[in-house]
């Protein structure tokens, strides 16, 4: 048996969790998040500044020598659990994880330092639905200028730098502010708290920073593995909130949470969340150590979506009427959970990856 992954939280990780939760309690209360979804500024850039600049969390994956914190995926996972619990509309997974991993693969120190500081936001310009290893769209490149259209790019409207794969196999950095040849057009996204956009490049100047293939693959693997922690955060909040509500809500002269049919459903959800916690910690630890990472990430993503969506759907049903209202935040969690089930590859795509990795071949 190989060495078992460390599946617990360290004291430092718990302290980090408490600090992030405090910060989000101040910045991302549910009515504020709901109001922001229909405003001109769907991203909460004040919360982002506090997290990234104030607490230095954008640079967790970046070595100290390159301006980061030199931490690991384990700490990032704890941050994402908390961001999931708050459905916080900040570009953390996209910039501090996915774009940062692509830059780490390319070894681009200049941009790494900028993203680590949190003052520059980056986005990898591929569709959010792509699983690690999936084919991605590449744009045309002519004498360093990029031409083409990319859709479903998460958090692109908040990004200062886009990392764009091109047909020559390169990954190009495009600075949005420096050119009129980039148009970022918001799409109407199912998930109100993770905005999507179309990126149109009409001769935008790009700087080749490395090879797109390995960089995109590495970035999407980290995104998929750590998304499980965000999904854990969603499920954890949904279960906690539903249990709290059902202890309070009375019908037939008793708390609704005392009916056995509902108790059993909540206990099942608890069991799923307990399992997801182990899977998500496994993925975070495997990404940190590099041990067994492909399989552990695929296992976590093959499992996580079902739990997050099931928990959100049950939370809505058990809240009943109030859960159907725009005012109650459950719909934000349902929309995020359902979108997360597609983000960085569906559970089915990750099961196929598992089949390859453990030699359980299709007929």
């Amino acid at each position: 048996m190989t060495k078992a992954p460390d599946l617990l939280y360290s004291e430092e990780e718990e302290a980090l969790r408490a600090a992030v939760r405090d910060l989000l309690a101040d910045h991302c209360d549910a009515p504020g998040v709901i109001a922001r979804t229909e405003s001109d500024a769907p991203h909460d850039l004040a919360a982002w500044k506090a997290l990234a600049d104030g607490m230095g969390l954008a640079g967790l994956l970046v070595p100290e020598a390159q301006g980061g914190q030199g931490a690991t995926h384990r700490e990032v996972a704890v941050v994402l659990e908390e961001l999931g619990r708050a459905v916080a509309p900040v570009p953390y997974l996209t910039s501090a994880v996915v774009a940062t991993e692509a830059l780490l693969a390319c070894g681009d120190e200049e941009l790494l330092g900028k993203l680590a500081s949190g003052r520059t936001i980056g986005a990898l310009a591929v569709g959010l639905h792509l699983a690690p290893g999936a084919a991605f769209t590449a744009v045309r490149v002519e004498e360093g200028a990029l031409y083409g259209e990319l859709s479903g790019v998460a958090d692109a409207t908040a990004a200062d730098v886009l990392l764009v794969p091109a047909e020559d196999g390169g990954l190009y950095a495009v600075s949005v502010a420096d050119t009129d040849a980039v148009t970022v057009t918001p799409q109407i996204a199912f998930d109100l708290t993770r905005p999507l956009a179309t990126v149109t490049l009409t001769g935008a100047p790009g700087r080749r920073i490395g090879d797109a293939g390995p960089a995109v693959r590495r970035a999407l693997r980290a995104g998929a593995g750590l998304l499980a922690s965000e999904q854990l955060g969603l499920a954890d909040w949904l279960l906690t909130e539903t249990v709290r509500y059902l202890k309070e809500r009375k019908q037939f002269n008793r708390p609704v949470g005392g009916f056995q049919a509902l108790k059993h459903r909540l206990a099942q959800l608890w069991l799923e969340v307990v399992n997801l916690r182990a899977a998500a910690r496994g993925a975070a630890d495997a990404l940190a150590t590099g041990e067994d990472a492909d399989l552990t990430v695929a296992v976590a993503q093959a499992y996580a979506a079902g739990v997050a969506v099931h928990t959100a759907e049950e939370a809505l049903q058990l809240h009943a009427g109030i859960g159907m209202t725009w005012e109650h935040p459950i719909h934000l969690y349902l929309k995020r959970a359902k979108s997360d089930a597609i983000a960085y590859g569906t559970a089915g795509a990750h099961r196929s990856a598992v089949a390859e990795l453990v030699d359980l071949q299709a007929p």
Binding site: V243, Q260, K263, H264, L266, W270, N275, L276, A302, L360
Partner: protein, 393 residues
């Protein structure tokens, strides 16, 4: 303070004084017990040294490397896992001295006389009566689902000593001599064809009061120690990847491509992933225990493994196609050990049906999770303040 280095020293001393190659097996085990190296977290004089349980691995690894015999713990699971911790917690000094050493060595195997035909999930409703006569208790009743009763020297027994008080208050905990002429053990054949379990009929069985564990009427509380240890034992195993029920079906899938279909592939992958996640969850629970932060996850592990065992073995029967129509052997046997993965898929499918019943049904465990972990309201109770003799039955 005894640390790992000191334990290694003591283990080396034991090995030097009683070389495994030239020492009788039982003599070695007795010497190990007397050296406090049997279960190091037990007190001195009772096979331990009063040090943390986590240090046991130091002793076990050293002894295994030296080729020393072990106490074949699987043969006395009830004794080691359930009777011993209960005796340690509630037994008198005399009882501890009398029972623990032969129990640990395996000279005396134990069984459990708890469940009754009329008291399953509602164990506290049990009706086996124990009536005081002089220095003895006279016991009459029927117990069921007793594994190993036919091989056991002793049993832990709970019986009703006062029918006039509410059910939880009138129970007393005893140690029952299985060689008493009033003890009649009969095999209970189950759906697999074999008989792992027994029915045990108790007719005027005489138990001296010196074999009572805990106070009269306090048996329910004493039994909680036993039952909590059962759930720890069921949920706390460490498994390698594909170490459980998913192992055999994965092997069949790899070796026999002709059996594969797309439908079975999707179902197999889903169960493979869930098995791996359950394994990680069990590993996380184990790490929490080692770190001294036990979580409530144990109750969940039994639920998860019961469902997985049933679904995986059911899938495997289907995967085998024409062979799935066959069964390896319906002969009535009395297996000494239960090997969940030793027989064919049909057997596993049938045996695993018991996984969601034995040691607490999945329905009761869901109630326990909902009430004790999530803090949801308890089920309405109509039996709490009613004398046992007046309960509906």
């Amino acid at each position: 303070m005894t640390d790992a280095a000191e334990l290694k020293r003591r283990t080396a001393e034991l090995l030097a004084a009683h070389p495994p190659a030239t020492t009788d097996r039982l003599d070695f085990l007795k010497a190990r017990f007397d050296a406090g190296l049997a279960w190091v977290h037990y007190p001195e004089g009772l096979g331990g040294l009063g040090v943390p349980r986590s240090l046991q691995v130091v002793v076990d690894a050293t002894l295994e490397a030296a080729g020393a015999p072990d106490n074949d713990a699987r043969r006395n699971g009830i004794g080691l896992g359930m009777a011993a911790p209960t005796i340690l917690k509630y037994g008198t000094e005399e009882q501890k001295q009398r029972y623990l050493r032969p129990l640990w060595i395996g000279e005396e195997v134990w069984c459990q006389l708890f469940s009754e035909p009329g008291a399953g999930s509602d164990l506290a409703a049990l009706g086996t009566r124990a009536v005081r006569e002089g220095d003895d208790w006279v016991v009459n009743g029927q117990k069921v689902w007793t594994s190993g009763a036919h091989n056991s020297r002793w049993a832990i027994l709970i019986a009703r000593t006062d029918p006039d008080v509410p059910k939880h208050a009138g129970i007393t905990y005893f140690i029952c001599d299985m060689t008493d002429p009033g003890v009649d053990v009969r095999p209970l054949r189950q759906i697999t064809g074999e008989a792992e379990f027994n029915e045990v009929f108790l007719t005027d069985v005489r138990i001296p009061d010196s074999r009572r564990l805990g106070e009269i009427g306090d048996g329910w509380r004493v039994a909680q120690t036993t039952l909590n240890n059962e759930r720890v034992a069921i949920g706390g195993m460490r498994l390698p990847r594909e170490g459980g029920m998913i192992g055999p079906v994965s092997k069949t899938w790899r070796e026999r491509p002709g059996l594969r279909t797309h439908d079975l592939h999707q179902r197999l992958l889903k169960l493979w992933v869930e098995s791996e996640v359950a394994r990680l969850t069990a590993e996380r629970l184990r790490q929490q225990l080692v770190a001294g932060q036990p979580g409530p996850e144990g109750a969940g592990m039994k639920l998860a493994f019961a469902r997985l065992n049933q679904e995986i073995s059911g899938l495997e029967v289907e995967l085998r196609g024409e062979e799935g129509l066959l069964y390896d052997d319906w002969t009535m046997r009395r297996p000494e050990l239960v090997d969940f993965t030793g027989r064919d898929a049909g057997y596993r499918y049938l045996r695993s049906k018991g996984n969601s019943i034995e040691g607490g049904t999945s329905e009761v465990l869901l109630n326990i999770v909902a009430e004790r972990v999530l803090g949801l309201p308890a089920e309405p109770r109509t039996d709490k303040d009613v004398a046992w003799k007046d309960l509906a039955r």
